[in-house]
């Protein structure tokens, strides 16, 4: 509209704005119903704060006035839900059918119809009473006969009379057990022999569970008598099972527990509420922590750049890099890389302080684990706030370096570097050894301790690999030598046949020498002297030789498993 006015201004057209505002006003201030237009105009612009008009009874619509009045009349009705045929009267719209006969009927006829009407009064209309259909009863099991009772339902605890009484009550109160248990008042030995009074049976108090148990037993049995379980429909069978499985003891225990729960003191209730609150807080904290850790991991997962960094050495290159990064950042529409202080890892650096601020409720391990990553930064930013005891230093992961290399590096990277040997083959072997120990190449939780142990592990693995290489070399040499020796012997068989018994000795010696390259060779030394026990000693030496590497291996494995279990533990702690 403003645009239209502008256009008019420009073209020097007469202003046409006047009628429009009034129109608008009319739309805004609606005249309330029930006030005449003139009166409303007198009120002026400010509407009164109270409503002037009342909600009036609207009456019947006009077209209704033209309709013929339909009569209401007091009509007798009988309720088919009753057995005694009680007739009550209510107002009903007069039906066409029971209109009094046409006025031209004679007086006598009228009397007659009246008489007839009176006679028919109990059943004026054949139609069913509307509310009779709500007369429903609970479905009860078929009542047992004497024979059935004696055969299936006898019980030491329940007499026949009391069972009957129970079934009657159940039918009377439509299986509302609360009421049945409330009204249950069975007079025992009401009409039995008088000598029962001599014993004076204590009035037996039946609990609801006892009643239910008895009733369900009877109902299930009757159901089974009616249809044997093999012929039951699915629903029936389910019901049967359910009723048979009713356990009064368990139900009683449950009620006792419920009563305990109900009768808690205010303190207990408060405590429970507090604990629930605490639980909620802990779970939400855990959730937060997990998401934060995931974020951290995703950061760590960034592939290691292998490109040339020379171009970023100069300040110009750096600013260029910043520009490109900013550009990428903008296009991604993510949180700015430049934090408020210009520090790069804003979410990561916030985590430890946050978790620290959460207070003592946090487990200390999570603190230390979280701080481990940030330890150096934290110690730099707050140099002399307070001196930490060695225990605390360990806890918070504070460490002092004699010499720090420039720049930032990830501890995980350092660990990573360890796994890369000079040759590709060696690297693969290393990886194979780690896989055998079930340690991931990229450490799960590269805390300082873990890295240190990992370093040790890698060193020993390297040592092992070297040893293996040496042993393989020696073995192959032995094989070659043996082969040449055998060749020689074959050639010298005729001359050297007398030297036969010496042959195994030589063999053991060489074998032992080969095998004991790794060891001190002490166990084999004993076997060397006695040629008689050569076979024996050979076996022993072999066993020892075989045993030692496995032992060693086992030792390594154990240490590895300790290591991994440590890392597992720490990771678990972190997760918690």
């Amino acid at each position: 509209m403003a645009a239209a006015a502008d256009v008019r201004d420009m073209l020097d057209l007469p202003a046409e704005g006047q009628p429009r505002p009034t129109k608008k006003q009319k739309v805004v201030e609606k005249r309330p119903e029930g006030i005449t237009r003139e009166l409303y105009a007198l009120l002026g612009e400010r509407a009164p704060p109270i409503a002037i008009n009342e909600n009036k009874y609207k009456g019947r619509p006009k077209f209704m006035n033209k309709l013929r009045v339909r009569k209401w009349c007091m009509t007798p009705f009988a309720n088919s839900a009753r057995s005694d045929g009680l007739v009550l009267n209510h107002w009903q719209r007069e039906h066409e059918s029971i209109r009094p006969p046409a006025p031209e009927a004679t007086q006598m006829e009228l009397d007659e119809t009246k008489e007839a009407g009176k006679e028919e009064a109990p059943k004026p209309q054949e139609q069913e009473y509307t509310f009779a259909k709500y007369n429903v009863k609970a479905r009860l099991p078929q009542r047992y006969t004497d024979e059935e009772y004696n055969r299936h339902l006898k019980s030491d605890d329940w007499s026949r009379e009391e069972t009957d009484y129970l079934m009657d009550l159940a039918a009377e109160y439509d299986l509302r057990w609360v009421i049945i248990a409330d009204r249950y008042d069975y007079q025992r030995h009401l009409d039995s022999e008088p000598d029962a009074d001599a014993i004076v049976p204590a009035k037996q108090y039946r609990t609801m569970e006892q009643m239910k148990s008895r009733y369900y037993y009877i109902a299930a049995t009757m159901l089974a008598i009616e249809h044997p379980p093999s012929e039951m429909s699915e629903a029936e069978f389910a019901l049967h099972e359910q009723m048979l499985k009713f356990d009064p003891d368990r139900e009683r225990d449950r009620k006792e527990l419920a009563a305990l729960q109900l009768n808690r003191t205010a303190d207990e209730v408060r405590e429970e509420a507090m604990l629930l609150e605490e639980l909620k807080r802990i779970t939400s904290n855990e959730q937060n922590f997990i998401t934060e850790r995931r974020e951290l991991y995703s950061r760590l997962e960034v592939p290691i750049s292998v490109g040339n960094t020379a171009m970023y050495q100069s300040s110009q290159g750096l600013s260029q890099l910043l520009q490109t990064l900013l550009q990428a950042d903008k296009s991604k529409k993510r949180r700015s890389i430049l934090g408020p202080e210009g520090a790069v890892p804003s979410p990561v650096s916030q985590t430890p302080t946050q978790t620290g601020a959460l207070g003592r409720a946090e487990t200390p391990t999570t603190n230390s684990a979280a701080n481990n990553k940030k330890g150096s930064i934290a110690s730099q930013t707050q140099p002399a706030v307070r001196t930490l005891t060695p225990a605390e230093e360990a806890r918070y992961g504070v460490q002092h370096h004699e010499r720090l290399s420039g720049g930032v590096q990830f501890r995980s990277d350092r660990a990573q570097k360890l796994t890369q040997a000079k040759s590709n083959v060696q690297t693969q072997k290393l990886a194979g050894a780690l896989a055998e120990l079930e340690i991931p190449v990229r450490l799960f939780m590269p805390t300082e301790r873990v890295c240190r142990d990992f370093e040790k592990l890698i060193q020993s693995v390297n040592l092992l690999l070297d040893a293996r290489k040496v042993s393989e070399k020696v073995e192959s040499e032995i094989r070659v030598l043996e082969a040449s020796k055998a060749e020689r012997e074959r050639r010298n068989v005729p001359e050297n046949s007398s030297k036969d018994p010496e042959h195994p000795e030589v063999k053991t010696e060489t074998e032992d020498g080969g095998n004991s390259m790794l060891e001190s060779g002490a166990p084999t030394e004993g076997g060397e002297g006695e040629t008689g026990q050569a076979g024996d000693s050979e076996a022993a030496a072999d066993g020892a030789a075989e045993e030692t590497p496995t032992k060693e291996d086992g030792g390594h494995k154990r240490s590895a498993s300790v290591l991994s279990s440590v890392s597992d533990k720490s990771s678990k702690r972190q997760r918690r």
Binding site: A81, D182, K255, N263
Partner: protein, 471 residues
């Protein structure tokens, strides 16, 4: 929605058969047509008896308050525990309650009103005459009873209704159940604070749980006795209540000053009985209860200390008092005392001792929290939380200012675990006539009409049928 169309039956399930609902209480008797929202007749259950011209005469209804006739004595057919004691008079009082305004006088037999000439052979037989004499010949009757009504009294009631009043159908419902219905609940814990009794009735699915029913006499009359005890101890001088009929004129006096009124005196032979004076004093006390008395709202007992450390008594004293002027012009501002008179409903130690009060001193077991505890102890543990979430407060004395707040706090203290929810209608009439309204709802329901005990069934089975049907 067209007002001339009947509502669909499915909408409200109602089917009115012009039944009469009679809700007799100790203090008042309520009667009216089922389907209405308040009883049409509300009369005191008290009746007056005096002798004039050598014969005994009876007065019913509000007339008993009006004229101090010579020798007029006031009686109540119902005993202190809410069970009828004087059946003849109870019947007369109840009959008055519906004949006075509901059924009215029948048009006389045209053969007998002297306006028609009838030949002798057309005279009606006596039998027809007899049937017309019955006051309730064409209205089913729904009556209420306390939950602890003995079987004898129930049988007597149906006997009166069937044989003396000639009702075609009858039903006897427990007042607790009806009060629960009136607040729209089929299950609930009904706390009824009446004139002579307070009662706790657990209701489950429209039936009372007999083992949970509790009642004690700490009702409105007990509070009146406490107020009287307070007046006796009042300083500077004890207060005596002089009813209006003994005062011919009065002049206004300053608060706490002795009254200046001209009293009416009656000669010994012209004076009404002492019970008449007691009745009228009770009216003044009712007014006092309505205007002044207040229940300490909690959260703790009046004797305890509040959350701020100051004792509740102290707090009550610091709250502004309420003035009250007695009929003789004496007036006074009541401070903390107004809390004290009802405190013993919750805390028996706070009862004001009065040696010559007709009401015996209460015991701890009679207080409302203890009653509720005992009541819940008598019902199955599974429904207790449900009952606590549906506490229905009814009865005229429950209108004491701050009563429901206090009850709520007491219940929360007793049962800190489950949710406690009190439903007390804010409308005065709904609170006073709770059980009547419930009866009005019940008797106008279409599904209820199969429950009536008809005349035929009564004839067949005898009065004992009431035990079988009205469970």
């Amino acid at each position: 929605m067209n007002p001339s169309n009947p509502p669909q039956t499915a909408e409200y399930g109602g089917d009115e058969v012009s039944a009469i609902v009679l809700d007799p209480g100790y203090s008042t008797t309520r009667a009216g047509f089922a389907g209405e929202d308040a009883p049409k007749t509300l009369i005191p259950t008290y009746y007056g008896k005096y002798s004039a011209d050598g014969q005994d005469k009876l007065i019913f209804g509000d007339d008993i308050f009006v004229t101090p006739r010579p020798g007029l004595s006031i009686h109540n057919p119902i005993g202190k525990d809410g069970i009828v004691e004087d059946w003849d008079m109870a019947e007369k009082v109840w009959e008055y309650s519906f004949t006075s305004r509901l059924t009215g006088a029948k048009p006389g037999n045209p053969f007998h009103n002297g306006l028609n000439d009838i030949s002798a052979d057309e005279l009606p037989t006596d039998m027809e005459l007899e049937s017309e004499d019955k006051p309730l010949a064409d209205s089913p009757l729904l009556m209420t009873e306390p939950a602890w009504n003995p079987a004898k009294a129930r049988e007597k009631t149906i006997e009166i209704a069937m044989e003396n009043w000639g009702t075609p159908a009858f039903y006897l419902a427990r007042s607790g159940v009806l009060a629960a219905f009136a607040s729209g609940k089929a299950s609930g814990l009904v706390v009824d604070i009446g004139a002579s009794n307070i009662s706790i009735t657990p209701v489950h699915d429209g039936m009372i749980l007999k083992r949970g029913v509790q009642h004690s006499p700490l009702g409105g009359d007990y509070i009146s006795a406490q107020i009287r005890a307070l007046f006796k101890k009042n300083s500077p001088q004890p207060i005596t209540i002089t009813p209006h009929y003994l005062i011919s004129s009065k002049t206004a006096v300053e608060a706490g000053q002795p009254p200046q009124a001209k009293y009416r005196t009656f000669a010994a032979d012209k004076a009404p009985d002492a019970s008449y004076r007691a009745l009228l004093e009770e009216r003044t006390l009712s007014e006092f209860k309505e205007c002044v008395v207040q229940v300490w709202p909690g959260p703790n007992k009046l004797a305890a200390t509040g959350p701020t450390g100051a004792s509740n008594e102290e707090m009550a004293r610091s709250s502004p008092g309420r003035p009250f002027e007695f009929p003789d012009g004496y007036n006074q501002v009541f401070g903390a005392d107004r809390f004290r008179v009802v405190e013993s409903l919750f805390d028996v130690k706070a009862a004001i001792p009065d040696a010559d009060s007709p009401v015996p001193a209460p015991t701890q077991a009679q207080t409302i929290p203890e009653l509720i505890k005992a009541s819940l102890g008598g019902v199955d543990v599974d429904i207790r939380p449900h009952l606590l979430a549906n506490v229905v407060v009814t009865g005229g004395s429950s209108l004491l200012y701050g009563f429901t707040d206090r009850l709520n706090h007491e219940l929360m203290q007793l049962f800190p675990g489950p949710r406690v929810r009190i439903s007390a209608p804010g409308n005065t009439a709904e609170r006073r006539f709770g059980s009547w309204i419930g009866g009005s709802i019940l008797a106008s329901l279409g599904t209820f009409h199969q429950m009536w005990i008809s005349k035929k069934e009564y004839d067949e089975h005898g009065a004992n049928i009431v035990e079988k049907r009205c469970k």
